[in-house]
Structures are given as C-alpha cells and as structure tokens.
C-alpha cells in the first residue's frame, strides 16, 4: 500500500516555495549567516541558517514558526487542489521545538504571546478551518514520524487525504545548550567531513499532501502527483537521551526497506540525516554500511543540512521533498563543505561541490533521527512508475 504526494510546500533559509528551495540547493546556495535574532556576544558559535524575515534586524519576535508553517501548508494544499479549506482533512505537524522561542520571549522579555499557541492547532484552524490538527513534538524526526502516522491512516482506509507538515525555528535554549556542549564552535555544517565540528540550527517549514492510492488503479500515479511514499518506519533506540545508537538506526533503515518491499540495491538516492555532529554522522554511516552491505557503493548520497542547517523537526520532510524533486528531475543537490569523508563513509557516492545529474533515479531513501533515539526512515519513488 503506497500513497501519492499530490502537493508540497517549503520555506527555508535558502528560499521560499518548493521550486525556489530546490533550485537554490542545486545551485549550491547556503543559507548560512551570522546570528540575526540573538545577542551574538553570548555564544561561541556565531552562525545559523535563519530565514531573514524579521522586520527590525536583531529584534526577535514571536510566532515566526507558525507563519512559515501556514505558508508551507498553503502551498501544498493549493498544489493538491484543496484550496484553503482543510476542515475535513487531518493535519499532522511534526516539530522539535513548537513555539518555544515565543515562550522564551514572553517569559524573559515580557513579549505578548498567547501560551495556547505553543502548538499549531489554533493557527491552522484560523487560516484553514482545520479541526483535526495534531502537533507532535518528536525532536528531529518529528515530521517523518508524522508522515508515518499519516500513511497508516491512509492505508487503513480511515482517510483519503492527510496533510503532513514540519516546522522549526531556533530557540535560544537549544542553540545555547548545543553551543555549550560543542567542542570547537562550528562555523558551518559539514556533514560526514572529517573536520566537522558540530551542528548549527536552521529555520524552515515543509508540508505535503498525501492521498490514498487505490490498489489496481492502473500504472502511473496520474497527472499532478509528485511522487509516491512507499513506506515509512519509526522506532526508538531506547538507549540514550541524546546520543544516537547505530543499531537502532540500522533497524529503522532495514524496516523501511522491508515495509517498502525494496532491497538496498533498489535504492538510487539517499537523503542522509547528516547533521555534521561527531556522533550522528559516525552512527548513521555505520548503520547505512551495515544495512546496505556491498550495495553501499550504489546509491547517490547527499545531506542538505550543509545548506539549510539543521531544521530540526521539519528537516525530514524537507529532505523528502528534495528527494522527490531529485527523482523527478534527475538533479541531486550537493553536500557542501565535504572535503574528506569520515572513514565509515569512505565508500559512499556523495554528491559533492556541485549538483549532479543522476540520470534515471527511481527510488530514494530519506533518513531522520532525533534526540531520545527516535528514528524514522522513508522510502519514496518517482511518480511515473
């Protein structure tokens, strides 16, 4: 049982809208900039991948994540022909940090903010009349987790259409605590490079409309479909509250492929989680190597956090949208800043420096892992199969 993606939306530091974001990534554009909303003097790291939309530079304001979410959902819904009325459609939102940035501003600075808007239901109801809204705060795999739950709703026949979204903005608490635990402060995100120094956060939102595909409806996804979700796995390491576990990741990758009915040799493209931290990249590379075995030299691999930063709970779905665009166009954006891959990833066919024409790409794998050992892996395929 697979599902069709009939609409997509994206907002990120590198652009607004799926077309602009994908073009920017293929052009090797980075959203990296000096910190725009925080007091730079308070941190060792000075950079992030922010959306530059504050009316007064340096003065932060609440509700930014909610605005991006609404724009991404609006773009996806419009493309899918749903318009602005989602009153009958479940909307599942995956986020790492909700509107916690707004809560920080409200408590510390007295900035007006309604605490009832920590989750996104109220805003989605106002804009789209959406009622069946669910905010999942599942760290950095949250939006792929939401995708898995949506796929289950569609597969069971309970729903015909579900909107899945992801969003996050930097919180000062998370940025500051990451800064505290990093060794040498990173000046950019360098996934899988031996010289990587850690993660920097990024702003962004992503959304897709998922529709049930009737079995036996013929070959081809029909006009307008962007691609097909074959399967999504989700599990938990149950090992450590922040550190990843290669075994848990390997189980998630294997389960996704098993659910999708594909083998490692069928995968043409992997959108890696690739955060540029010592722990994630080593664990992810080891897990991929274990599951793929000798096929690990097969698929093209890339990690877009090298250009978008770590967009946290929204990152998995943003990678998924990029994967669908790559399958449709054959173009794969590069992993910027990757000079020398870490030993565990030496055999990987990374796309480096510049976008690459991958030829006939049919099936892609998307990884997303989060604090608490929450792992989700999606398998998607090109629409015309």
């Amino acid at each position: 049982m697979s599902q069709l993606v009939t609409g997509a939306g994206a907002v990120a530091s590198v652009g607004e809208g799926v077309d602009e974001v994908f073009r920017a990534l293929c052009a090797g554009t980075s959203g990296l900039g000096e910190l725009r909303g925080f007091d730079r003097e308070r941190y060792r790291a000075r950079h992030a991948y922010e959306i530059d939309d504050r009316p007064v530079p340096g003065a932060d304001l609440p509700g930014r994540a909610t605005e991006w979410l609404l724009r991404a959902v609006g773009e996806a819904a419009a493309q899918a022909g749903l318009g602005e009325d989602l009153s009958e459609v479940p909307v599942l939102v995956g986020t790492g940090l909700r509107e916690l940035r707004s809560a920080e501003l409200a408590w510390r600075d007295g900035t007006p903010f309604d605490i009832g808007r920590l989750h996104f239901g109220t805003a989605l109801r106002e804009r789209f009349r959406a009622v069946r809204t669910h905010t999942f705060s599942g760290a950095c795999s949250a939006s792929l987790y939401a995708l898995a739950l949506a796929a289950d709703l569609l597969a069971s026949g309970a729903e015909d259409t579900v909107v899945v979204a992801g969003v996050d903005t930097l919180t000062e608490s998370m940025y500051g605590l990451l800064d505290r635990v990093n060794g040498e402060p990173p000046d950019r995100v360098r996934p899988f490079d031996r010289e990587r120094r850690g993660v920097l956060m990024g702003d962004g939102a992503a959304a897709v409309v998922l529709r049930r595909e009737e079995p036996g409806a013929g070959t081809g996804a029909g006009p307008g479909a962007l691609g097909r979700v074959r399967a999504v796995s989700m599990n938990c390491d149950a090992r450590h509250v922040t550190a990843p576990d290669p075994q848990g990741i390997a189980r998630a990758v294997h389960e996704a492929q098993w659910r999708a009915g594909v083998k490692p040799g069928d995968i043409d493209l992997v959108l890696l989680h690739g955060t540029g931290t010592q722990l994630n990249d080593t664990a992810e590379a080891a897990a991929i190597r274990e599951v793929f075995g000798p096929e690990v030299r097969g698929p093209l691999m890339t990690a877009i956090k090298s250009m978008t930063g770590h967009t946290s709970g929204g990152s998995g779905l943003l990678s998924l949208i990029v994967a669908l665009e790559s399958l449709a166009s054959g173009r794969v954006p590069p992993t910027l800043g990757l000079a020398e891959p870490l030993p565990e990833a030496e055999a990987f066919r990374f796309v480096r420096d510049a976008a690459r024409d991958g030829g006939d790409l049919r099936v892609a794998q998307i990884d997303a892992f989060g604090f608490g050992g929450v792992n989700a892996v999606a398998i998607v395929e090109r629409a015309d199969r």
């Binding site: 308070r42 408590w107 109801r125 760290a139």
Partner: protein
C-alpha cells in the same frame, strides 16, 4: 476511526498524583473534592528512587512513576524489575504534555541573557527538547517501538490515547504506554497566569493493547476503547460519538465545564458528570489520560455493582485487577454514585451506532449498551477542537488461564 470497537483494550493504569493512588480513588476525589489542606506533592523518589534522576525535570520523573505503575499493572514488567518481559519493539510510547519543558526553555534563555551560553549546565540539553519525557520512559523500560510526544493543547491527552490505539491498530506495535503529565513552576504559573494551587502536578498512564495480544498474554482488560472523534465544538463532538442523544452511563466533562441552560445541555442531565480537574487541578495535556484512568475506575465499580445487583454482568472477576488497589484509601463516597444511578430508560439503551466488526470478539464489545459506557471529552468551544472518546466495559473473554510461556514467547519473537 482507525480501529474496530473492541480491538484495542486497556490492560494497565498507573497514577502519580497527590491524594489518589488508584482509579477508584481518583473518581471519588472528582466526585467530592477534599476540603481542608491540599495533599502533599507526589514524592517520585518513593516509587523510582533518586539515583539517576538528578538531571531529569519534574515532568519526566512524574511520567516515569505513572508509566512504571501502568506497566506493572499490565504485567509487562516483573515485580522486581523494570525491563519489559515482552520484546521491546512490540511496545510503543505516546506521551502528552504541553507545559513539561517550558521551564527549561525559558530559564535557559534567561540565563544566557544574564551571563552566556558557556555558563549553562550541559546536563540541561536533553530537557530543551520537548520529547524528553517520552524518551526517558522508553529508555528506562527498553521500549523500542514508535515513540511519540503529543503537545496538542487542551485535547492532547485524549489525542495521545487515540494515537496509542492507532499504533496498535496499524500493527506498528502490540501495545503502547500512553502518559499524560503536567507540572507547575514559576515559569508555568507566569505564562498561564494562574497560581500553583490551581494547576496539576502529576501524571497518569495507560497501557493500551491489542485485544488479541492481551488475551495471548492472559492479561485481563479493564476497558475497551470505543470510537474517538475530534470536532469543532462540544455539542458536535458528542453528537458524533452518541448519535440521537443517547445517554452514556457517565460523562467526564472538559476542564471546568460550566453547565449550560436547559435545552442546550449536550448530555442528558440524568447522567452523572465528573470533572477530574476538580480533584487534581487544571490538567492541560494530562487531562485526557487522567479522565481515562478515572473512567476505568467508574467502569470497574459500575460492572461490579451490576454483578452485585444480579444484573447481566459481563462475568465474574472482570476487571478484578482494577478495583481499589488501596483498600485503605477510604476517600469520600462519590455522589452521585455512578453504580447506583437508575437505568436512564429504554431509549438510552440504544446501541452506539458504530460499525460492528464481523469478528465475534469485536462485536461482543460493540454491543455494550450506551448506558454502560463512559463518555470522555477534552477541550471546549474556545479550544481548537473538542476531542471525545467512549470507554466500554469488556466482555469476559480475557480470563482463560495464561497461555503457556513457550508458545507465547515464540509468537512475540516472530516479528
């Protein structure tokens, strides 16, 4: 709806609350909120000790206490251990909290402004992520199934129960522990604009399990999950769950529900009502799970009353594990006594109009009269939506002797 009636049952309940150790006690406190001094805050060290918890926030510790209680009640962990006795990947976690880590986020941001990020304690890092509660529950008990954290406003607890059931119905896991937890502190009180004594400091947990997996383990079910609905308003939600104005046996109202004028009352006035927040304070994301725990207490008592009164009860011993485990609890007698409420009449005996499964095991539960079911609602007309759920007594079909250990293990490992 994603599961058929009777497919998913409640096999364990756990509480970490001041002044109410069991579902029955919670129900009594909701019926007659205690006067006099407030009970002492729940001491998490008594249940989970102090070692290893120093850097966990209060919400996480409360959640661990409730989860431990529920897993033990469901016979998923041994009396003297914490690791589940079934394969870890057959168990999921769904936690719900809106306010749990607000203090870490806000206090950390303030500390950075006062000094710098380098003066922070790195031990706070896990607590900056809102899913820290669900993560720790998984780590402590080795639960490797999907691990969800709901932060969905007033309905979040009931939504979490729904997602737990959805994971089971989809075959992702065989069972899930669902936890609702909230606490209060200076940050929460300030951002909510409410004093501490109005707010919950506690947690509740349920184990929701596929009926056939509970049966295979030989574990009794305390209740079966009926339909769940999420609608724009209270009246619409209740109408969707109970078409034609059928009267449930009891109604667990939204937080601080104010009765409406005659004619606009969404549930007949003869139906007893409970607001669990009268007993434990405003409960935010914990509410729905607390309501389910109290509803289990009600179902247990009502079914016991039916049997005692010579009614057509659903079988001796039903729910025996869910009676008042603390017999010495001695709380105030509930008034109105749900088990003593007269039958609302033949009209209310109409069956809930939900799709009846072809499977006999499922239809047995779906045919429970509405008057023996508990209606649970969270959220009100000012919230994004109102969520509602029906909980039903279970038929006596989980009381066969436990299956032999060897074949059970073999089945569990077949995944």
């Amino acid at each position: 709806m994603t599961h058929r009636p009777g497919d998913v049952v409640v096999t364990g309940v756990g509480l970490a609350l001041p002044g109410a150790a069991t579902p029955g006690a919670l129900l009594r406190r909701a019926a007659a909120p205690a006067a006099g001094p407030a009970p002492e805050p729940f001491d998490t060290a008594v249940r989970i000790g102090r070692r290893g918890h120093r850097y966990k926030d209060r919400a996480t510790r409360l959640a661990l206490c409730a989860a431990l209680d529920a897993l033990r009640d469901a016979a998923l962990i041994p009396a003297d251990g914490e690791e589940v006795t079934v394969p870890g990947d057959t168990v999921g976690v769904v936690a719900s909290s809106n306010l749990g880590n607000l203090d870490t986020a806000c206090l950390t941001a303030a500390a950075i402004a006062e000094r710098s990020a380098m003066d922070l304690s790195p031990m706070s890092l896990p607590n900056a992520s809102s899913n820290v509660i669900a993560s720790w529950v998984a780590i402590r008990h080795g639960l490797r199934g999907p691990n969800l954290m709901l932060c969905n406003g007033a309905t979040s607890g009931l939504d979490a129960v729904h997602w737990g059931a959805t994971l089971v119905a989809a075959g992702r896991v065989r069972r899930a522990v669902v936890i609702g937890v909230e606490t209060h502190n200076a940050v929460v009180e300030d951002l909510l604009g409410r004093p501490a004594d109005e707010l919950l400091d506690g947690a509740a947990a349920l184990v929701v399990e596929g009926a056939r997996w509970a049966e295979a383990r030989g574990v009794p079910a305390a209740a079966a999950l009926g339909p769940y609905e999420r609608r724009a308003g209270l009246t619409g939600c209740i109408e969707a769950l109970l078409p034609g104005g059928a009267a449930p046996g009891v109604w667990f109202t939204p937080e601080r529900y104010a009765e409406r004028p005659a004619g606009a009352v969404p549930v007949p006035e003869t139906v007893p009502r409970y607001d669990v927040t009268d007993a434990v304070g405003r409960s935010s994301g914990a509410l729905g799970v607390l309501q389910c725990a109290a509803a289990v207490g009600w179902l247990t008592r009502a079914e016991a009353g039916k049997r005692a009164g010579g009614g057509t009860g659903s079988g001796a011993g039903d729910g025996a594990a869910f009676g008042d485990r603390a017999a010495s609890d001695g709380g105030a007698r509930a008034a109105p006594d749900p088990a003593a409420v007269p039958d609302p009449g033949p009209a209310a005996e109409a069956l809930a109009s939900v799709p009846v499964s072809a499977e006999a095991s499922a239809s047995a539960s779906a045919s429970v009269p509405v008057s023996r079911q508990a209606l649970i609602t969270s959220g009100d007309d000012t919230a994004d939506a109102v969520a509602g759920l029906l909980l039903r007594p279970t038929p006596a079909r989980c009381h066969r002797p436990p299956a032999a250990r060897a074949p059970l293990s073999a089945m569990e490992c077949s995944r």
